[in-house]
C-alpha cells in the first residue's frame, strides 16, 4: 500500500513518514461538528525521492504541508522525520510557498541567507555560503538587488535558495510556480528538476497542475476533498530529470490519463 516503500530495504527509515494522520479544527460554535480537514493520511518519502500531491482546491493540501512543516500538529496519527515521531519539526523542514515571502528591506543575498542567520551562523560565512550558490540559482549579478526590483520568477528562485540553504532533509513546495505566467513556469520547472536532481532531499510538491506533477515527480498522490484523503498513488516510471518533450511520450500521456481519471471520479468544485 501507500507508504510501504520504506520497508523495502527494511533498514533505513524514510526521510519523511506520515502515518494515519488526521487533522480537524475544533467546532466554531457549540453543538457544531468539528471541521475535519484531513483523514487517514499515510505517505512516506525517501531521501532523493520527489513526491507530488494533486487534488482539487480545498482538499487540505496546504494543511497537510503545514502539519508536516510543524506549523500545526496532527489531531491523531503522527509525522516522523528520519524515523523520529512527532519530533519538533520547525527548522528541520524547508518550506517554499506560492508567495515568495521575501523581506522587502533585505537584498537578494540577505534574504537567501536568512535561514543560516537564524541558526546563528556568522554573517560573513552565511553570505559566502549563499553567494556560492547564486550563480547556480540564476541569481548571479543580482545579489545586492532588492526583491521589489526582480521579476516574479527571479523572486521564486531567491525563495527556493533561501529554503534549501539550511540543508534540511525535507523540502515542501506549495504550488511554488502557481502565481507565474506559463512561460516562466515551464522554465522554472525545468530548472527545478535540474537543481533538485543533484540534491539528496525528500521533496513533497503540492500542485493543481497534473503535467507539472508528472514532469517532476517519482510518484504522484491524488487527494480527494472534504475530508482530504489520499485516493491514488501513481508511480511515474520515466527517467529523471525529464525534459519538457516528455509530455508527448506515450507513457506520459497514459499516466496523465490515469491521473485525470482519478481526479475526475472525485472532482471537487474547481481544480
Amino acid at each position: 500500500m501507500i507508504g510501504a516503500d520504506n520497508r523495502i530495504d527494511g533498514v533505513t527509515p524514510s526521510r519523511l513518514e506520515v502515518r494515519e494522520m488526521a487533522r480537524s479544527f475544533p467546532a466554531e460554535r457549540r453543538g457544531e461538528a468539528p471541521g475535519e480537514v484531513l483523514r487517514d493520511i499515510s505517505l512516506s518519502v525517501r531521501a532523493g525521492e520527489f513526491v507530488a500531491i494533486v487534488g482539487p482546491s480545498g482538499c487540505g493540501k496546504s494543511t497537510l504541508l503545514n502539519v508536516i512543516a510543524g506549523l500545526q500538529e496532527p489531531t491523531s496519527g503522527y509525522v516522523a522525520l528520519d524515523g523520529e515521531r512527532n519530533a519538533r519539526r520547525l527548522g528541520l523542514v524547508a518550506y517554499m510557498h506560492q508567495r515568495d515571502l521575501l523581506l522587502p528591506w533585505r537584498t537578494v543575498l540577505e534574504n537567501a541567507r536568512l535561514g543560516l542567520e537564524l541558526q546563528g551562523m556568522p554573517l560573513n560565512e552565511a553570505n559566502r555560503r549563499a553567494g556560492d550558490l547564486t550563480a547556480r540559482f540564476g541569481l548571479g549579478g543580482v545579489e545586492q538587488a532588492y526583491p521589489w526590483r526582480l521579476s516574479g520568477g527571479m523572486r521564486q528562485r531567491v525563495a527556493l535558495l533561501r529554503a534549501t540553504l539550511p540543508d534540511q532533509g525535507v523540502l515542501l513546495l506549495d504550488e511554488p510556480f502557481g502565481a507565474l505566467d506559463a512561460i516562466t513556469r515551464a522554465d522554472l520547472q525545468q530548472w527545478l528538476a535540474d537543481v533538485l536532481d543533484r540534491e539528496d532531499k525528500a521533496v513533497v510538491l503540492v500542485t493543481h497542475d497534473v503535467e507539472e506533477a508528472l514532469l517532476l515527480a517519482d510518484r504522484v498522490l491524488v487527494m480527494s476533498s472534504s475530508p482530504g484523503r489520499i485516493i491514488e498513488n501513481i508511480t511515474v516510471d520515466l527517467p529523471r530529470p525529464r525534459s519538457s518533450e516528455v509530455v508527448t511520450d506515450s507513457r506520459f500521456v497514459e499516466l496523465k490519463r490515469r491521473l485525470l481519471a482519478a481526479l475526475g471520479l472525485h472532482r471537487g468544485a474547481a481544480l
Binding site: L101, L103, W105
Partner: protein
Amino acid sequence: MSILTTPPTGSRNLARLVGEWAPALAIGLVAIAIWEFAVRIFDVQRWLLPAPSVIAGEIGASWALLMRHAAITGQEVVIGFLVAAVAGVALATAITLSRLLERSIYPFVIASQTIPIITIAPLLLVWIGPDITSKVIVVALISFFPIVVNLVDGLRATDREMADMLRTLGASRMQVFMKLKVPMALPYLFSGLKIAAVVAVIGAVIGEWVGAQGGLGWLMRVSAPQFQTARVFASIVVLSAMAVSLFLVVAAVERWALRNYPRATGQGSD
C-alpha cells in the same frame, strides 16, 4: 503606505525637488501678498492685525529676544520629544510582547488622551513648579500618544505567512520579533514620530502659557495684553519654523532608515 519614499539621489533630483515645492511656495507668497495689501488698503490697526512686512520688521528688531526664548522652548521640545520617543517605543514593545499588558495598560493609554492637556498643565505647574521640568512633561505627554499608537499598529500588522516562513526556518519568537516585526513596523514608527514632532511644539507652548519664566509661549502671553501683536506673530513664525525643522529632521532620519524599503508605487516589476 504613503510614508515610504525613496531619497533623492544626485543633483538631477534638485530640479524635481524645486518643482515639488514650487506650488506651495507660490500659494504662500500669494497669501502673504493679499494679507499685506488688505492691511494697507483697509488701514487695519497694527495692534489688531500687523502686515507681514511689520511682522518681518519685528522679527529683525527683536531677533535676540526671540532667539533667547526660542532656545528655552526648543530645549523643552527636544527633551520632551526624546523622552516620549524612548518611553513610547518601550511601552509599544511591551504591549506587543505581552497580552496581559495589552489588555491592562493599553486601554488607559487611549483613555488618557481624552483628558485635555490644557487641564493637566496647570496641575503640573502646581506639583512641579514653573521651571523647565513641567514643560518637558507636558511635551512628553502630548508626543507620547501618536508614537505608541502607531508603533503598536505597526507591530501588529505583521504578515502571518511571513512569520510562519521564519518559523519553518527555525526562528524563535524573539527572532520573529527582531527580524520581521520590528522592520515591518518601522514605517509606522516614523509616522508616529512625525506627528509627535509637530504636537511637541504645541505642548511646549501650552506648558509655558499656564506659567513659565521664559519661552516663546510665555513671550506671546505677556506680549498680547500689551497689544504687541507683531511680537505675538513673530513668535508664531519662529515656533512654526521650529516645528517644521523638527519634522524635517525626523523625515530625514526616516529617509535614511527606510532607504532600502520599496517605494509606495512600483512595487514588484514583472
